[in-house]
Symmetry: C2
Subunit: 156 residues, 2 copies
């Protein structure tokens, strides 16, 4: 995992979260993991193709996801985590990944992202073949959001 | 959902499964669903970018996944669904999606696919924003494999 692939996600997440009114985004301790990794209550997966390939996974618990959704929807009260909320949480992942992909492209790694997919379930476990996964825990006003970056510029 | 996006998956799946020694692949009744859709024990997600964008999801129960893995590994006995098995099931999805993407490209829809991600868990539920999902149930010698195609050539 190249460090060049990490920083665009940290800076994009800080910027996007700040726009959402999140005052404090602290980066927790990074860790490098191999598959399988544990998911959380709410998981957004976005694929990346091009010079850099792989997946980026945003994981958070339901409470955090509801706060994110409320914030994305301009503070609309959220009592149930419905399809509208899921779409809002997916949009957060889409905005962060889109901004990070732009920065990666500026740095010479042209890449394109897929639309986001949201996965919920119990005891969710995720395996990505042949790619190490860098976990960036972000401590936000909404709660912890883990960005799991599984990207490589090797042929897989 | 355009019919042009469906046939490449059906023909690629039949071809790849036949190569694995699967004698009979029957196509069950197609259905069009909106999010959320139910996953199964074992789910492989592969993203698609380019003229056609979205995700393709291969879902099957654990028993079928173990049979698929054994077959991918040249009949090696499978007693536990470990990372090697997950990788083998992901590779099935990769082969089918890769072949389908080639056919889509031949038909004028250039597209690129992400590496596969495998998701396991209980009560897995999947939401994909703004894209209808076509479910192709394939009745194979291994058991039922559902191909969920969520692709669009619209700007999302």
């Amino acid at each position: 995992m190249k460090v060049e692939f990490i920083n665009p996600f940290v800076s994009a997440a800080s910027m996007v979260l700040e726009r959402l009114g999140n005052q404090n985004t602290e980066k927790g301790k990074l860790s490098l993991k191999a598959s399988p990794i544990q998911g959380n209550d709410v998981n957004t997966i976005i694929g990346v193709t091009g010079d850099v390939r792989g997946q980026v996974l945003y994981s958070m618990n339901l409470d955090t996801a509801m706060k994110v959704a409320a914030s994305m929807m301009m503070g609309m009260p959220v009592t149930e985590f419905d399809e509208l909320c899921k779409s809002a949480v997916n949009e957060l992942g889409n905005m962060i990944t889109g901004n990070a992909a732009s920065e990666l492209s500026c740095n010479g790694f042209n890449c394109t992202i897929t639309p986001p997919t949201l996965i919920m379930g119990k005891e969710v476990v995720i395996s990505i073949k042949n790619i190490q996964i860098l976990v960036i825990p972000l401590l936000t006003d909404f709660g912890e959001i883990d960005i799991n970056v599984a990207l490589s510029d090797d042929e897989l």
